[in-house]
Symmetry: C2
Subunit: 362 residues, 2 copies
Amino acid sequence: MMTEQINVQLAATQREKPDQTNLGFGRIFTDHMFMMDYTEGKGWHDPRIVPYQPITLAPSAMIFHYGQTVFEGMKAYLTEDKRVFLFRPEKNMERLNRSNNRLCIPQIDGEFAIEALKKLIEVDQEWIPTAEGTSLYIRPFIIATEPFLGVAPAKNYTFMIIMSPVGLYYKEGIAPVKILVENDFARTVKGGTGEAKTAGNYASSLKAQEIASEKEYSQVLWLDGVEKKYIEEVGSMNVFFKIDGEVVTPALNGSILHGVTRDSVIQLLKHWNIPVSERRLSMEEVAEAHRDGKLEEAFGTGTAAVISPIGEFFWEEEKMVLNNGKTGELSKKLYDTITGIQYGTIEDPFNWVIEVPIASSK
Amino acid sequence: MMTEQINVQLAATQREKPDQTNLGFGRIFTDHMFMMDYTEGKGWHDPRIVPYQPITLAPSAMIFHYGQTVFEGMKAYLTEDKRVFLFRPEKNMERLNRSNNRLCIPQIDGEFAIEALKKLIEVDQEWIPTAEGTSLYIRPFIIATEPFLGVAPAKNYTFMIIMSPVGLYYKEGIAPVKILVENDFARTVKGGTGEAKTAGNYASSLKAQEIASEKEYSQVLWLDGVEKKYIEEVGSMNVFFKIDGEVVTPALNGSILHGVTRDSVIQLLKHWNIPVSERRLSMEEVAEAHRDGKLEEAFGTGTAAVISPIGEFFWEEEKMVLNNGKTGELSKKLYDTITGIQYGTIEDPFNWVIEVPIASSK
């Protein structure tokens, strides 16, 4: 493991904490952030916690031109007895390095990054919100900083972790969303960057999302880029369908994100002896199951929303209402179990949560 | 047209001009840059020329996370009689707005942007290199600056123009390059962002490029993302093939960049009565033409390299050497004609060049 000391420079003053009843998502940031730099030939260096502040880059910094960047999304949770939990952070660091590999960004030391994150959380511990359903959203990301307009992997990068106290991702809480199945636009394709958590995939998705919003659908369901038949993801989440008692989710095929919540849902279902299968799944199969009355539930999974039940699909003029537009039993049980484990209110049979050691608060 | 006055703040000192025999590409920048901001509800505002300097953004600025950004590449040329030419700048602004549309970025006033560019060039006129084959590379780009971690189009943007005196894109000048036909990775796909000049397309291309470089190929030829059969682009250029007397280039199908040089080549060929066709073209057809001795030439086209002759393709264990690895006659003629028009040494029958009015230099 990287052994360099993390330099800590505390903010001179602490900013006022926000109103916890109206946190929103990703607009408010804590007093500090973590940074470290990469220089070709030297590796990652100068890990430091500094006051949250603007960053300064050359206008020619490669991030602005060629999008060489990756990110992660994680959360820290405050338990009733004031302990701080992280949920499977090693999975996020594994995925960050998988994304790095695809984007030609140097690997980071995941263990070291988790230690740095723990230290950052300790410094900003008072920013973890306490109201029900709130948490501290954590955004690690890496950007190419070399000032150069050539199309090539950069020689300099900065890795950062910023943190934002957040409410529920969907203001309405766990409530079914309406999904438009996308036939025109593609998010990614086999051989593309779909498996990586990188900016371009999200930029690419905005147009379809905008059109869906105009039609009053809250998210888009992405079909594969080759045949436009097979289900990939929904919005920026993985997706599950309960069909005739079996839970099905698209197999990881190279263009689907390796969701941490996705993996947790699969493990939980197996633990509960509910049949679950990762395989290729066509939209036609889902529509047919709906027509036959066998599409029992559908839901998206992701760190931000945890479980997002789906109340309706719209696909090629066919409107499919699920479960009378209500949250399904399984969706609810998964949401309650995962958030229960995350907040320490129910047993964690998988050792998913990791406690962040917190020295007594000032 | 936008009528707001462009505020000009001159640099206190002028930096030393670089050695013109070793300019490289995109590492040295002029003394000034152009900026203007967009605010939702207010539109584009505060156009200004300021000293070239680092830019400061919140770590949560959307550009760092979701890649909402577009760019252009253009050049300014100094003629023998000290006039300054731009080459079809209106085409770049048209394309910038096409890219904006795909990326959900507000449209800019292209005419105004060209006026701003002319003013910027006038301010930095002494930076236009004079040595043969050199030019002033111009990089307009737009980045999403809103500090927000939600996946949605931003409410704030900055448009910038930076300029870099450059030598030839390929150090070796107009000399044939070796191209690896890519079978595993995809740059983009139908319904994706391939037609837009946006960061994610370039980020996505790095991995294949890295593997090609290890095999000593200088660029990758991209096949379509769906069937992996049809030719799209080569590296970050459009591509042309001369087969049995006819010049063929892939038709604009939604995932291919609308290259300005591509369009200029097509117009020139028509002007010369050389048969040219924009159509779907498979790699198999190219390989077959090569086997039959009918693949006479191939070349890439782009602003940076202008015409980049191709000396060799490698595709599925088949090595195809073109024209004994030498620059073809047509490639050379196109290069000489386009650069001749750009530098004002030969007639411009298409009115492609626009003169930048330059008040006498200090």
